[in-house]
Symmetry: C2
Subunit: 151 residues, 2 copies
DNA sequence: CCATAATTGAGACTCAGTATCAATAAGGAC
DNA sequence: GTCCTTATTGATACTGAGTCTCAATTATGG
């Protein structure tokens, strides 16, 4: 079952409608790789004359997240980032506080420990957010250089 | 070394000044247990006639976070939550999406795995945010009841 | 094709936090 | 203590990211 099909079914089961805008947005998103935010997506759409207002983009992204086709990455500040989850499985993110680079990671072991913690505390998990903040390999080197020069 | 002393030293080393407002805010925070947000803190201060404007509260909280005396919990939406970290060590949070309850957890093992992941990816961690979202024990029961009734 | 209800888009609005800037007040030098 | 420099404060304006409103439009089921 492909992404379009999955979205159709999601919409149908929720008594929502498959509109031209929704179809267009999903179609275009499937072409995008990596992370993006809602407003740059709007610019992208406008620049190609694709139909979609700001409101509709935000609304459709929320639907796609709900349908499990897109993942929203809440940032500490600034705009949320999104990524298409078609053909990928769950992962978390390391975010470079210097250059903004987002590096993915996954750990079965951490996921398992999380479940275990929830079980112990009587919590039923619906989701989680695990972000590691720091300097990516490139920026770490630059920072080291800066330090070295300063000494 | 107590909290006031730690804050003084932090301010001194950063060429910042220990003002009446800053002293008062820290003093009052030390009385508070649990989690709180900036605006309810403002209401609290106003109701007792303590001196502090909204701007100063936000600014001072940022300083206290920087000094390591307070921890800021970025929420998915709505206001950030804060908690005083004096005499406590690091932990992460489970947040009930139904009632907003915040439950703390800690896992040496997860911390260790995080470090390991960073090492492997050449990332140098400056911090992390790990939030588990779901239903707390109370709300889970309520939800189950609701489901049961619906059937 | 019709009726109904969901959707859209333009722009107003909200919310949480930040910036501005003149008045005030620390903190160090003397 | 007095003076000087510079940080701080508070009232308020502003910002950014996202949400809401509502009349016009359009998908869907009958």
């Amino acid at each position: 079952m492909d992404a379009a099909e999955r979205f159709s079914r999601y919409l149908a089961t929720n008594r929502l409608r498959l509109t031209r805008e929704r179809r267009g947005i999903l179609e275009e998103l499937l072409r995008i790789k990596g992370h993006f935010d809602a407003d740059s997506l709007l610019v992208h759409f406008r620049s190609r004359g694709l139909p979609a207002s700001r409101a509709t983009l935000y609304r459709t992204l929320a639907r796609l997240v709900d349908a499990g086709l897109v993942h929203k990455i809440e940032m500490e500040k600034g705009q949320a980032q999104y990524e298409v989850m078609v053909g990928r499985h769950h992962h978390d993110h390391m975010i470079c506080v210097r250059c903004g680079r987002i590096v993915e990671f996954e750990s079965r072991e951490i996921e398992r420990l999380q479940m275990e913690i929830c079980r112990r505390k009587g919590f039923s998990m619906t989701g989680h957010m695990h972000q590691i903040r720091g300097h990516c390999s490139d920026c770490r080197d630059k920072t080291d250089d800066a330090k070295a020069r300063r000494v």
